[in-house]
C-alpha cells in the first residue's frame, strides 16, 4: 500500500541543512498496524505527515497504492488523501465552533456526499461510537477521551483505507488511553491499515510491527 524509497527531509537556511529524515525505506502492506517509536525530535511526526501527504519529502520516492505521490499535482494529492486517509492527532483538533454532529459531518461535506446519505452515515457513526446523546455538544463540553473518540469517529466516517494516528493517547490518562487503543485495534481488525506514532511501549504493542526512529534514521 505504501512504499517509501530513500526518503529524505531537511530544512535549509543559508548556512546549514538540518536533516529531519535520512534515507527512509519503508513498506507498509494493507491491513498492517504499524507503530512508529523514537525519542523526541527523531522525525516521527514528519514521517507521518509525509505519509499523510500533508508534507512533501525533500528527496526520494513515495508510492501510495502504486501511484507516485512525489510526482502528483496538489489537486490530485488532496483528492487522494481525502478519499483514503484519516487522521487522529494527540490534541484531537476538532473544530471548536461546530458540534459533535457537525464535526462528523464536515468530511462528508467536503466529499460532496448528498444530504440523505450524509445524515444516515453520521447517525450510524454516532451510534457505533456510542455518542448519540452527545451529538449536539461542542468539543469544549466533552472530556479529553470523548473528544479523541469524536476525532477517531471523524477520521473513520469517510471510510479511509489508512488511519494515521499521531500519539492519539498522548493527552489522555491511562484508562481513556486504553479505550482508544482498543478502538484502533478493532478498526484494524475490520480491515483498516493503521500507522501510529507513540512513546509508549504498551501502546506500541497493539500494533503488529514496530519501527524505531533515531535522529532521522530507521534503526535496524
Amino acid at each position: 500500500m505504501i512504499k517509501l524509497t530513500a526518503i529524505e527531509k531537511y530544512y535549509e537556511n543559508r548556512v546549514i541543512k538540518t536533516f529531519v529524515l535520512r534515507n527512509i525505506n519503508l513498506e507498509v502492506k494493507e491491513g498492517e498496524f504499524v507503530s512508529v517509536m523514537g525519542p523526541s525530535g527523531s522525525g516521527k511526526t514528519t514521517l507521518l505527515n509525509i505519509i499523510g501527504m500533508l508534507d512533501a519529502p525533500s528527496n526520494g520516492e513515495y508510492y501510495f497504492l502504486d501511484e507516485p505521490v512525489h510526482k502528483m499535482s496538489e489537486k490530485r494529492l488532496t483528492e487522494l488523501h481525502k478519499t483514503y486517509i484519516g487522521f487522529v492527532f494527540q490534541s484531537y483538533h476538532l473544530i471548536d465552533e461546530l458540534t459533535v454532529y457537525e464535526n462528523l459531518e464536515t468530511p462528508l461535506l467536503y466529499q460532496r456526499v448528498n444530504s440523505n446519505n450524509r445524515k444516515g452515515r453520521v447517525a450510524e457513526t454516532l451510534d457505533r461510537f456510542g455518542m448519540v446523546a452527545k451529538k449536539d455538544l461542542f468539543p469544549n463540553q466533552l472530556s479529553g477521551g470523548q473528544q479523541q473518540l469524536v476525532a477517531i469517529a471523524r477520521a473513520v466516517i469517510a471510510e479511509p483505507k489508512l488511519i494515521l494516528a499521531d500519539e492519539p493517547t498522548g493527552n489522555l490518562h491511562s484508562e481513556q488511553g486504553k479505550e482508544i487503543m482498543d478502538l484502533l485495534k478493532k478498526l484494524n481488525e475490520q480491515g483498516t491499515t493503521i500507522i501510529q506514532v507513540t512513546h509508549s511501549e504498551t501502546n506500541a504493542a497493539y500494533g503488529n510491527r514496530i519501527i524505531r526512529l533515531k535522529d532521522g534514521w530507521i534503526e535496524k
Binding site: K75, H81, H93, D96
Partner: protein, 798 residues
C-alpha cells in the same frame, strides 16, 4: 455546505463580540455614510439627465467678449430670435425651445388667495415634447395654442384649487405690473426635484406672455440677451461641426448695429448643472466640489472600515489557522476555504448593510439639510439607489474578505496541526494598512482645521462694511412700496432706534451689475469696466463704508443725485488721472462728476478680488436696508411689517438679516466644512476602533511574553511602552505621509480664494497631537491593563 459555513460564521461572530462589534459597527457606519453620499451623488449626477431626449438636448450659451461678470464673459441667456433663426439655418436641429421666466409672480385665485409662483413661458408644445412633460389632464399639443391659457403642475393645481377640477378655472397673474386673466387648460405631473424646471409649476402661452411685455419691445430683438434657447439635435449630429458653423451664422443673421462679436456655443443639458460654464444659468448651479469631495470621503471611509476587517481577520488568523488546518486535513480544497471566508465577510457586510440602511433612514433628513438638497420622497426605494447600495455592500464584502480569505486559506496543514502556525505575528502589510488608515484620518483632520480656519477668517475679516444689525426687505416686486419708498423711509426714520435707512440696488456683499466707465480722454486717463450700485443718501452711512477722499452725497447739493458718483479706491486706480475728486467721467453716454472716493470693500465673496465700483443715486432699487440700534431688531421688524400693510402691499412681507445673507453666500464653504469635519470625526473613530481591536489581539497573543518579562523584573511603564511603541510609531509615520497630502489639497482649495488665511504649521501639529492622543488612549488603556496583570495568571497554563 453553505449551511455549515453560515453556522461557523454566525458562531464566530457571536463568540468574538469585541471583534464583531468593531467590524459590524465600523462597516455599518461606513456603508451608511456611503449610502447617503451615493444618494446625493446620484441626485446631482442625475440632474437634468433623465429626460428621454437628454443626450440630444443642448443649451445655447453665448460669449460676450470683454463683458466680464465675476470673472467670466460667458452667459446662458441669449436673444429671443436666436432659436428660430438657428432652426431655419441648420437642418441638424430637429426642434428648439425659447424660454422666458418670471419668478415670484403674484397669482390670485378666484379672488380668494394670493400666491407667489414661478412662471415659465415657452414655445409650447415644443417644451412639453422636448422635455417629455407628462400630462394628466389636457392635451400638450393644443393646451397653450389659444391666448391667455396656462397649464399647471399637479402640486400647484392642488394648492390653487384643492380637490376641485382645475381645467377651465381661471387665475389672475401679474407680470411686469400687468394683471391678466388666464384659463387653465392642462395639468402635468411635477418634474422631479433634480430637474431645472422643478420649481416652475406654471407654464403660460408664449404669445400672451409676449404681449404683456410688448412695450418692452427690445426684449424680442437681437442684442437683448434675456431668453434661454434649447436645441434638440437630430440623432448622430456632430456638435463640434455644428458649432464651427456658428460664426458665419452670426455674421449672416445678427444686424451689424447690435453685433458686438458675440459667439455661440452648445452645452449638453445634463452638464449645465455641475459643469455650468456660463453666468445666469437657468437652474440651481450644482456644487461640483462638494460632489467630488464627498465621493472621495465615501471611498476613504469604506476603505478604512474594510481595512479594519482585513486587519482583524488576519490578526486573528492564528486562531482560525487551526480550523483551516483541520479542514484541510479532512479534505477541504483551498477554493472551498476561500469560499468559506468570503462567505463570512459577505455575511458580515450584509448584516452591516442592514444596520447601515437603518442609519441612512435615520440620518436622511439631517444629511439632506447638510448638503442643501431635498431628495424627495421615496428616494430610498428608487431602483438606482437600491442597486447602488447592494453594489456597495458587495464591494465591501469582497474587498474586506478577499485578502483574509487568501491568507487564511494558505496555511499549510502540517505546520498548523503541529501547533506552530506562524500567523498573527507582526505583519508588515498589516502595519502598512493601519498606516494608510491613519494617514487618511490625519489628512481629513488637517483639512477640517484649515477649512474651519478659512471660514473663521471669512466671518471675522473686516470686509469694509458693517453687516450687523441690518434688516433687508426686498421691495422691487411690490409696487405700492417701490413707488413710495421715500415716504416709507421717512416713516421709519421717525423712530429713534432706527439709525439709518437706505434703498439700494444690491447688498454690498454681492453686486451683480456692471458697466463701462469712460474717461474723458485726457492723457493719463483710462477707461474701466466697473460694477455699479445705486442707493439713497444714507447708503454709505447705513453700511458704515468710509469715505477716504472728497465727501459723501449731500441733499444740499442738487447735482449730487443726478450726476454725482462716488468711486472706490480700485476704480480710482483703474481710471488713472480721471479718478480724482472733481473730475468728470462718462457712463452710458451721461456725464458724472466724481464727488468722493470710498474705501475698498469686498463687493463679492472673498473668492474674488475687489473690483472697480462706483455708487450713484437714483436707478433701480431692489432692497430697503434698515440699520437699527443693537437689540432692536425684533421691534423694528414688526414696525416695518405694520407699515408694509399700511402702504397697501399685496405681497406677503418678507425680510432677511444682512448677516444671514452674508452667511448664506458662504453656504458651499459651510457645507464643505461640515461634511469634512463630520467625516474626519468618523474616519478617526473607525480607525481607532480598528486599532483598539488590533491592540486587544496583540496583547492577548503576547500575554505570556508580558508575564515572562514581568517575572524577569520589567516595570509597568516598560511593558506599556513595549506594547504601545509599535502602534504609536505607525501613527507618527502616518502623520508624515498625511501632511504633504493635506498641504497640497488645501493649498489648491485656498487658492480659490482671493483673500485667505495663511497656511501655517498649526493645523498639522494639531492633527498630529489629536491622532497621537486618541490612538494613545485606545492603545494605552489596554496596555496598562495588561501590564498590571499578575504574571502568575498568564503563565499558569504553560
Amino acid at each position: 455546505m453553505i449551511k455549515n459555513y453560515l453556522k461557523i460564521a454566525i458562531r464566530n461572530i457571536l463568540r468574538n463580540k469585541v471583534f464583531s462589534f468593531i467590524n459590524i459597527a465600523g462597516i455599518a457606519v461606513a456603508i451608511a455614510v456611503a449610502g447617503l453620499i451615493m444618494l446625493y451623488v446620484q441626485y446631482e449626477w442625475g440632474y437634468d439627465r433623465f429626460y428621454p431626449n437628454t443626450n440630444r438636448i443642448y443649451l445655447v450659451y453665448c460669449k460676450d467678449p470683454g463683458n466680464f461678470f465675476i470673472g467670466s464673459d460667458l452667459y446662458a441667456v441669449t436673444p429671443e430670435p436666436l432659436g428660430t433663426a438657428m432652426k431655419n439655418e441648420f437642418p441638424d436641429i430637429e426642434n428648439y425651445v425659447t424660454l422666458g421666466r418670471w419668478n415670484k409672480a403674484l397669482v390670485k385665485v378666484a379672488n380668494r388667495k394670493v400666491f407667489e409662483e414661478n412662471i415659465l413661458c415657452a414655445t409650447a408644445p415644443d417644451l412639453f415634447k422636448m422635455f417629455s412633460y407628462n400630462f394628466t389632464a389636457g392635451n400638450p399639443e393644443t393646451a397653450l395654442s389659444q391666448p391667455n391659457t396656462v397649464v399647471l403642475s399637479e402640486n400647484v393645481a392642488h394648492r390653487f384649487f384643492g380637490a376641485e377640477e382645475p381645467i377651465g378655472k381661471t387665475v389672475e397673474i401679474n407680470i411686469y405690473g400687468k394683471t391678466q386673466v388666464w384659463t387653465v387648460t392642462g395639468v402635468f405631473r411635477a418634474m422631479p426635484n433634480n430637474s431645472q424646471f422643478s420649481s416652475y409649476g406654471i407654464v403660460t402661452s408664449f404669445d400672451t406672455y409676449a404681449s404683456t411685455i410688448a412695450d418692452r419691445k427690445d426684449s424680442f430683438q437681437w442684442g437683448n440677451n434675456s431668453w434661454f434657447t434649447y436645441l434638440l439635435l437630430r440623432k448622430g449630429t456632430n456638435v463640434e461641426t455644428l458649432q464651427a458653423k456658428f460664426p458665419l451664422f452670426v455674421q449672416k443673421n445678427i444686424p451689424a448695429s447690435v453685433e458686438e462679436g458675440e459667439e455661440f456655443f452648445l452645452q449638453q443639458i445634463a452638464d449645465t448643472h455641475l459643469f455650468s460654464k456660463a453666468n445666469f444659468g437657468f437652474g440651481v448651479a450644482g456644487n461640483l466640489s462638494l460632489v467630488s469631495v464627498l465621493s472621495a470621503i465615501a471611498i476613504v471611509i469604506l476603505a478604512i472600515a474594510s481595512i479594519n476587517y482585513m486587519n482583524l481577520a488576519t490578526a486573528r488568523g492564528s486562531v482560525r489557522a487551526r480550523e483551516v488546518g483541520v479542514r484541510k486535513v479532512i479534505g477541504a480544497k483551498r477554493s472551498q476555504l476561500i469560499a468559506q471566508f468570503m462567505g463570512e465577510s459577505m455575511m458580515l457586510a450584509l448584516t452591516a448593510g442592514v444596520i447601515g440602511l437603518v442609519l441612512v433612514e435615520i440620518l436622511l433628513r439631517l444629511f439632506s439639510r447638510l448638503v442643501g438638497v431635498d431628495f424627495g420622497s421615496g428616494s430610498l426605494s428608487h431602483p438606482s439607489f437600491v442597486v447602488g447600495f447592494l453594489v456597495v455592500i458587495l464591494i465591501v464584502g469582497l474587498l474586506s474578505g478577499a485578502y483574509p480569505a487568501l491568507v487564511l486559506s494558505m496555511y499549510r496543514p502540517a505546520a498548523v496541526v503541529k501547533g506552530s502556525a506562524k500567523s498573527g505575528k507582526r505583519s508588515s502589510l498589516r502595519n502598512v494598512l493601519v498606516t494608510a488608515q491613519f494617514a487618511a484620518s490625519i489628512a481629513l483632520i488637517s483639512c477640517t482645521i484649515i477649512i474651519l480656519s478659512q471660514l473663521n477668517y471669512i466671518q471675522t475679516k473686516n470686509m469694509g462694511y458693517n453687516r450687523q444689525n441690518i434688516i433687508v426687505v426686498p421691495i422691487n416686486l411690490e409696487k405700492s412700496i417701490f413707488q413710495h419708498v421715500g415716504m416709507f423711509e421717512e416713516k421709519l426714520r421717525e423712530h429713534s432706534f432706527v439709525s439709518s435707512v437706505t434703498a439700494c440696488s444690491f447688498l454690498p456683499i454681492d453686486i451683480e451689475s456692471n458697466t463701462e466707465v469712460h474717461a474723458t480722454g485726457r492723457t493719463g486717463s483710462k477707461n474701466a469696466q466697473a460694477y455699479c450700485i445705486y442707493g439713497g443718501y444714507a447708503f454709505l452711512k447705513t453700511f458704515e463704508i468710509q469715505i477716504v477722499e472728497g465727501r459723501d452725497f449731500s441733499s444740499l447739493v442738487a447735482t449730487d443725485s443726478s450726476s454725482g458718483i462716488i468711486i472706490n479706491q480700485t476704480l480710482q486706480k483703474a481710471l488713472g488721472r480721471d479718478g480724482t475728486v472733481g473730475r468728470m467721467v462718462n457712463i452710458n453716454g451721461q456725464r458724472f462728476r466724481v464727488v468722493g472716493v470710498m474705501k475698498d470693500f469686498n463687493l463679492h465673496s472673498v473668492r474674488h478680488k475687489i473690483q472697480p465700483l462706483f455708487y450713484a443715486m437714483g436707478g433701480w432699487r431692489q432692497y430697503l436696508c434698515v440699520r437699527v440700534q443693537p437689540g432692536h431688531i425684533g421691534p423694528t421688524i414688526s414696525l416695518i411689517k405694520t407699515l408694509w400693510n399700511r402702504f397697501g402691499a399685496q405681497r406677503p412681507f418678507t425680510h432677511t438679516l444682512m448677516n444671514d445673507d452674508f452667511k448664506k453666500m458662504y453656504g458651499n464653504e459651510e457645507r464643505l466644512s461640515q461634511a469634512v469635519s463630520f467625516s474626519s470625526g468618523l474616519a478617526i473613530l473607525i480607525a481607532c476602533m480598528g486599532l483598539f481591536g488590533l491592540i486587544t489581539f496583540s496583547i492577548e497573543r503576547r500575554r505570556k511574553e508580558i508575564g515572562i518579562r514581568k517575572v524577569l523584573g520589567a516595570t509597568v511603564a516598560e511593558v506599556v511602552s513595549l506594547l504601545s511603541s509599535e502602534f504609536l510609531l505607525v501613527v507618527m509615520v502616518a502623520n508624515l505621509i498625511a501632511w504633504p497630502v493635506a498641504f497640497f489639497l488645501m493649498r489648491d482649495w485656498l487658492n480659490g480664494f482671493a483673500y485667505r488665511t495663511p497656511l501655517g504649521l498649526v493645523p498639522f501639529i494639531v492633527a498630529a497631537i489629536t491622532t497621537l492622543g486618541i490612538a494613545g488612549a485606545a492603545v494605552g488603556f489596554h496596555a496598562v491593563k495588561a501590564a498590571m496583570a499578575n504574571p502568575v495568571e498568564s503563565l499558569r497554563y504553560e
